[in-house]
Point group: none
Chain length 398, copies 2
DNA sequence: TAGACGCGTTCGGTTTTCCGAACAGGTCAG
DNA sequence: CTGACCTGTTCGGAAAACCGAACGCGTCTA
């Protein structure tokens, strides 16, 4: 029934949790069992792979499932949630279902019924399309790809917004190929490079194909006027725009809102670490084939380092790093130090306690910074109590 | 609150029914009270006119409300249902909400709360009509509307100042409709788009109607001169101006003071969050009606996010966001992330437990790497015991 | 001037983490 | 075949981490 499904179980009760895990694994699912809301928030916010559904208790020692769900849906579309609770109320059930949770069951329940509803829930949320991966394999990436493909079927102008190096150009090409104009040309016009040919030339060149105007947020005022006119009197070609979210804030409001009517936001690579890993594998395969003596592969540690890196430069940075690393690698495997040579400086081996303390210190300082030095809010940010923060600061000498 | 609304009440209990009818009619609704499921089925299947919502008890002498709802939705999407029940269960509530019923309340309930939820339900299903409230439902909006209507009664030129997207254009139309010239045309001239026709043409076109000059603060020097002249020798048409407060500071002083003689300032949307919510409800209803598979509604989190947002782009931004969100929504409910997709770009804040786990995971993998996969030596490298390493690997899923 | 609020600090109790001991295999050299 | 050595795993107790409650203190506000 659940063969190969990946589930997350959030449940503090040891007995209940164990029995659920046992039964779910019997059905073939891979289950990650989390006992605390804080942990669950982290695991669901930066998952190690695709998660099919979340089974979530409501009363938890450090919070409640409802808040967990609300926090998750604040920033990203949450995975389907199946809530299970002992002391639930009708009002709560209504609230949660209306908030977009998938289902809600009272304890105690019959295991068969629980499983049936879980299966229904997963089936309802299963992505219908497959298609080629342009962006990545994460939920966010697949969702974005699906939206781009849908937009390709229409004739409307589309704005693809995202950080530099997030893959906007790739998506524009994918959109073009998914549209009825795929036989026509795809012309790329970079608005941030005024030296290039005039916009009108690009329009003529695109003809019955697609015109992708990159960095539309960097247009000068005349360019903006021209674009407004272009949107009012559509040219022969299909229009697709690319731009950075912050840059778009500075565009004149009427044009911005016109563009935003069909905006597709590409989540940055840092929001989907699994894609960073996936992208590295692909880039590695390409670069490795060109080596005279191909490497055997990538170490686990290198993968972990890639997932943990923030990727401020997006896919472009990743690409540069992988190519350089494959070029410079010495051993038979691609090591983390090949990808991040700048870290060699701090090379001496450290024990687990040391790296843990350092990570904690850095995060505590960041939290204090973010909360203007208020310890109470910093502690809330960090998910620990005020006293624990104080204790840690004592220990770390802050 | 419910003025002019048509409601159907399905309730067998005489006391309860009477009290509900009394209160609902007090609020201005027209209520049709049915005591049997069979009757209700007929009345709802071939309604005598538009019905805004159905308030429905579950336990009925000749059937139950759930079956009634199911039977109705078998053929077409039913009107919004608000279920009220004394002997309800969580399972039933979940089932009904999942099936698309609007809301579900347990008896006994506080009448105020019941009314509030009924109003929300109706608003979410009711597309905006013409010529109703122009700005919103907040006190600020109401006051501004009153001032505009009063100004409409005079013949003087009026300056409507406010942020872009605050609703200046709507107010201008409202002013026109409230004036004695309502039978004449309303001509809009956008001063920020010089490409358009000349001002003199617009004056001629407006004739005995109203001329609305938008973005009057963006006029070029010649335009300012022309406008000064226009104010000295009033044309046949009524003059209304729109402009942004900061932009007006830069206008030449004599013209500015002339314009300011009868200025109405529109408070920005950010100053009246209730209006943002209200406006979203209306826009949502309109956009949702055009969907092939209408959404069930807006989640509470989405409402909260809308109220909290600063709306630098005013109503225009809100409109663009809602339309796009309804277009792109995937689940049965409109989520906060549909309205603010760019928020996935926000680097997710990590709790201390998360960064600690992340750091540990990376170091453990590095140690295993360095020790060729021998756990014992890796544990020694990390400065922990073999069992602890095993336990950590379990917990981190390695 | 009283109250609300946030901070530093201590304390007792609960939970988790960590470790060593132990046991059942598995491998490999002798 | 046998013993040395390693691994995966469980168990119980010691150590720590963590939390909430509480107290005194300064600061800010009504």
């Amino acid at each position: 029934m659940l063969t190969g499904r990946r589930l997350v179980l959030v449940e503090d009760d040891a007995l209940m949790g164990a029995s659920l895990v046992q039964r779910l694994e019997l059905e073939g699912a891979r289950v990650q069992w989390l006992r605390q809301a804080g942990r669950a928030l982290g695991a669901l916010r930066s998952p190690q792979g695709h998660i099919d559904a979340v089974v979530c208790d409501i009363a938890l020692p450090d919070g409640d499932g409802e808040a967990l769900f609300a926090e998750l849906s604040r920033t990203r579309p949450p995975r389907p949630f199946l809530f299970i609770t002992g002391r639930g109320s009708i009002a709560q059930a209504v609230r949660l279902i209306q908030a977009g949770a998938g289902d809600y069951i009272e304890k105690p329940f019959a295991m068969d019924q629980f499983l049936a509803r879980l299966v229904t829930l997963i089936a309802a949320a299963d992505p219908p399309g497959e298609g080629e991966a342009w962006l990545g394999v994460s939920d966010l990436a697949r969702r974005t790809e699906r939206r781009v493909a849908e937009a390709g079927a229409t004739e409307r102008p589309v704005l693809i917004s995202g950080e530099p190096g997030a893959g906007k150009g790739h998506l524009a090409r994918g959109l073009h190929n998914a549209s009825s104009r795929r036989l026509g040309p795809l012309v790329v016009h970079d608005a941030s490079r005024p030296s290039g040919s005039a916009l009108s030339d690009a329009i003529a060149e695109a003809a019955d194909g697609t015109l992708y105007i990159a960095a539309v947020d960097r247009l000068d005022p005349e360019g903006e006027m021209a674009l407004l006119e272009l949107l009012d009197t559509p040219p022969a070609c299909r229009l697709v725009f690319g731009g950075a979210p912050e840059g778009l804030e500075a565009v004149r409001p009427d044009l911005r809102d016109r563009l935003r009517r069909s905006e597709i936001t590409v989540p940055p690579l840092s929001a989907r670490p699994e894609d960073a890993d996936w992208l590295m594998q692909r880039l590695f395969a390409g670069a490795n084939a060109r080596r005279s003596a191909p490497l055997s592969g990538i170490t686990e540690a290198a993968s972990a380092a890639v997932r943990a890196h923030g990727w401020p430069g997006g896919g472009r940075e990743l690409r540069a790093r992988v190519i350089r690393a494959v070029d410079a690698a010495e051993g038979p495997w691609l090591q983390a130090t090949d990808l991040f040579p700048e870290r060699v400086a701090e090379a001496p081996w450290r024990t687990l306690a040391e790296v843990r303390d350092e990570a904690e210190r850095a995060q505590i300082l960041a939290a204090l910074d973010r909360s203007d030095g208020h310890p109470a809010t910093a502690a809330r940010l960090l998910g620990i109590s005020r006293t624990t923060l104080w204790e840690k600061m004592q220990r770390l000498g802050l």
